[in-house]
Every structure is written in structure tokens, then in C-alpha cells.
Amino acid sequence: MVATTTGAAAEHRRPGPRGGTERRGRVRRFLDRYWYAYALVLPVVVVVGGLVILPLAQGVFFTFTNINEGNIANPVLGREADYDVVGLANYLNVLSGDPAYGSFWGVLLRTLVWSGICVAFHYGIGLGLALLLNRPMRFRTLYRILLILPWAVPAFVSAFAWRYLFNADYGLINWLLGSVGLPTPVWLGQSPVAMVAVIIVNVWLGVPFMMVALLGGLQSIPGDLYEAAEIDGATPWQRFTQITLPGLRPVSSTVILLGVIWTFNMFPVIYLITGQNPHTRILITYAFERFFSGATRDYAIASTYGVLILSVLLVFAGVYLRALRSQEAD
């Protein structure tokens, strides 16, 4: 699934054809052969495994209980856990789409729209800028620095900046729009416009990464392919569709997958800019609301959302990777 480019040339070593009498020897040779590799990955496995697997497992367990802040065990207070295992009740509740559990399907749809639009713009604008930047010209380095800048600014700073700019009455954006006679919407109000606003901000934030990745991809397309196509009579547009896009495919497929995953779980932008606004609520922000607000924080429902998010993304990744592979095969 996550293929490696290591390929067949790797040091693929396998124990020789020896009898079962040498089982111990085989283990030893296995270790002899791989202990370097395992020693190198051990720290990561310990850190990531420990800090991810354990909480994750705990999170998955929570989804089958009615755990919340009030009934979780608290050794410090000498309080025993008294939550119950409720089976699939959380999943059933959430998947029923009941507003009491966050109107799952509607929010899922909004999340998909949000991810789709954001990634489409990230990719489209990133590709456009990468194509422009890939040409030799004056000030290229300067443009590059300026265009990557949004990536370098801490996200919470950008979020405040945008909230400030989007101010409906005193914000610079509406002031500019107003001064050229355009309508001045309430960007961050309780309307679908707020979604537009957060998409704008997220696109602004995410384009630099795409641009840089695609710029690297463009530079890895051999120049003589373009020359060959030019001699074959391809117009610039045909060169773009026939050489550039296929040439970018390895990079594109990766950044799009990562982009979707990251955007799907992009929580700070929405939360810092619009707070709890039902028009910008996506799965992750709702999970966060359930986790952190409420007199007794509802760990069970929040974890259920977490597991559902994970499942949606796994399904997406599976379908996506399969589609890619079948496309590659023909």
C-alpha cells in the first residue's frame, strides 16, 4: 500500500536453505542481518508507538463506553471508574445523524466539501504558481520567498491576522471591497459565507506547501521530454497535459493524499477564526467541542468521532490508492 522505492535491488537476504535443526541459528542469522535496521527504527517505534498507540487504543476503547469526565477513574481523588460499557450505542447514536450527537451526516458532508474544495484550490493554485516560478526570470528567488511565507508564519498568528482582516465592519477586506463598490459580506458571521472565509484562509495557508512540492516535481521532469514533444508538434497546452501532468503524477498523488488527510483534520484554522459556528463545523471541530465543552466532557462521543474520522480517511486512502494503482497498471 505504501510502496517503497527500495525495489528489488535491496539487500534482500534470506536464510539459506537449511534444515529445521538450525532454528536457533536461523533466529541468530535473522538478527545478524536485521539488527541494524531494527536498532535504527527502535527509537521511533518506542516514541511514536508509545505516544500514539496507547492513547489510540484507549480512545478506541472509549468508544464502546459512556465515559466522561464525571465517571472516569481518578486515582488522585481516590475515585473509581464507574462508566459502563455500552457496546455500539455511541456509534449508533452518532450514525443516526441525531442533532444531539452532532448531525453526523450533514457534518460529514460539509467536511468532505471543505476538504475537497480546499485541496482542489491548494493543488490548482499551487500548481499554477509552481509553473510560473519554474520559469527563469528576474526576482525569482524573491517571489519564491514571498510566496512560501504563509507557511513560515505560525498558524495561530495567521488565524488572528485573518480574523482581524475579515472583520465585517472595520476589517481591511471589506473596506477595500467597499471602496471599489463591491458588496461587503459579513465574512465570519453565522452564514455559509463563514465557510468561504475559512476556506480562503486555509487555502492561503496550504498553497505554499503544495507549491513547493510541485515545484520540486516539475524540476524532476526531464527537460528533453518537453523538447521531444515540441518537435512532435505539441502546443504549450498539449505539453502541459501530455508531459507536465503525467510527469507530476508521483508527486501529485502523494501531496493530494496528504493534503486531504491534513485538511480533513485541520482544526486550528476553523476553531481560531470562527469558533463554534455551526456553519463551519466539521467532524474534527465537533469532536473537539464534545471533548472540551460540556459540564462533563464527553470522551466517549469525542472518541467515537475520532474513530469515525479515522475510518473515513482509511476508506478514502484505500480507494484512492487502489484507483491510482489500477490507473498505473494500464
Partner: protein, 306 residues
Amino acid sequence: MDVTSLQTSGRAGPSGGRRPAPPRSGHRGRRSPAASFGLHAALVVASLIAVFPVFWVLVTSFKPDSRAIEASPSLINESSLDNYARILAGEKGDFLAWFGNSLLIAGLTTVLAVMLAASTGYAVSRFNFPGGRGLLFFFLVVQMFPFAVLIVPLYNLLLSLGLQGSAGGLVLVYCTTAVPFCTYMLKGYFDGIPREIDEAGRMDGLSPFGVFWRLMLPLARPGLAVTGFYAFITAWGEVAFASAFLSAADQSKTLAVGLQVFVQQNRTEWGHLAAASILVAIPAAVVFYLVQRFLVSGLAAGSVKG
């Protein structure tokens, strides 16, 4: 699909060493004035959009809080350096301590995440060991789970490890988010370094660790710079974990947490916030400036026929 083919730096290494795209356009290397104007116009507009919010934060940072929200925006309105002076003087909390903490935590995260990612990336790139692919897939899955939902289990875990409240615990948490992506990136870089280089090193008497340390790391320097940047930015601007996991004492806050004080429910000190934000953005910008040339340029070739 090949997750590892992602290299923000482009094809690293000599293996992809075909000639890069030559100048292409209307007539060989020359552009008509109109095309040239269009190109620059597009880039200028894009750059303005990219820079403007940050620029406006800068403008605001010179205004007093009470002038930050104005009926008609102006570049200068009672502007002065007062906000900066007050922040740096510690009137608004021990800014310098926050700054130091952030530097420490982001720096540690960068170093640790890059080391972890590099060693893993190297192992996955060079040793076809059982479980290597599984590890990469696991990394992909790790990025899918919304960690905001795990703050409490993580908190308890850190507590039981005795790491709660310390910078070390936070660094580890940041590493779990930065390492997967950094590993992908570095694996890509390592894949781009010809295997013959390792083999030459082993013939010259290096152990596999020696190859990693003395050959792979120096050769993947651009990759290390880029992943370091990523790890740094991840840690530098993070709020949620930092405010939950660090002690609330001024001496142990990070910038991101400290700045929260300026934005409270019924009171936002825009001027001070802006000034502090600019101060926060400066180190990030410096780090960014140092690595930006690696972000797109490839690894210098030369080990094989060029």
C-alpha cells in the same frame, strides 16, 4: 502510488540527474513584453496576497490597542514602538522567558524529530527488513487520527511517565506529529542517494551506523534542512498541546501559550498581540530563510557522471 516519492526538494541526488527543464517559452529563452508583464503581474499579485496579512499585522503592531480597530483602516495611527517596548520589557508577561522556552522546545523538537526521522528513513530506504513497509503505512495512519481528541489520554500517559509539565514531554508529543512526515521526506532523499555510496563506505570500513552518520546525513543535508524546518514550524506555532501540557508558570510557557493572554473572551489587545506576533514570526522567518533555498533545489550531484 508511492508515498515516498514526495520530495519537496525535487529529485534529490544524482539518480534523477537528467537535465532539468530548460528555459521554455514563446521563442527560446525570450518572452514577449506582454507575456513578461503578465507573468510578473500574476506573481506580484500572488505575492501581495501571500504577504498582506502578515504585513497588516506589522502595521497593526505599531498602533495602540485602542486604535487597532478603526473605522477606516490607516497605515499609521498614533503608531509607535510602545507595544514592542512593553512586550520586551516584560510588562505583558515574561515575553523573553516564553521566547526562550519556545526556542528550546522547537529546537529540541527539530533536532529529535530530524534524528528520529533520519534514522528511520535510512533504515526503510536501505534495509529491506520485515516490517519496514508496515511502519510506513502506520505513519500514514497516524496522520489520520485527530489528535486533538487524545489530549486527556496523552496527558495521563505523560503523567505516568513522569514527563507531564516538562518541555521533554511536549517535545515527544510534537515528535509524534512531525516524525511521520519527516520520515517520508527523508526516505525520499535517501532513496536519491546512490546505493553505491553506502557500499563504497562499507568497503572503506564503515559499519551501517557509520554509513548513516558519516555519509547519509551529510549528503541529505538539504533534506535535513527542509524536514527540520517542518518540525520547527510544527512546534513553534502549536497552541493546544502546549497550553494543556506545560505548567502555567510564566517561566515555562511558550510564546503561543503566552500570547493567549492577549486574546481573551472580552478583551483583545490587538496592538500588543500584533507586536508579539511579529516577534514570534521573526525566528520562524529566519529559519525559513536559511532553508528556503533547499526547499526547491536538489542535492548537489557529483558522485557520479554528471
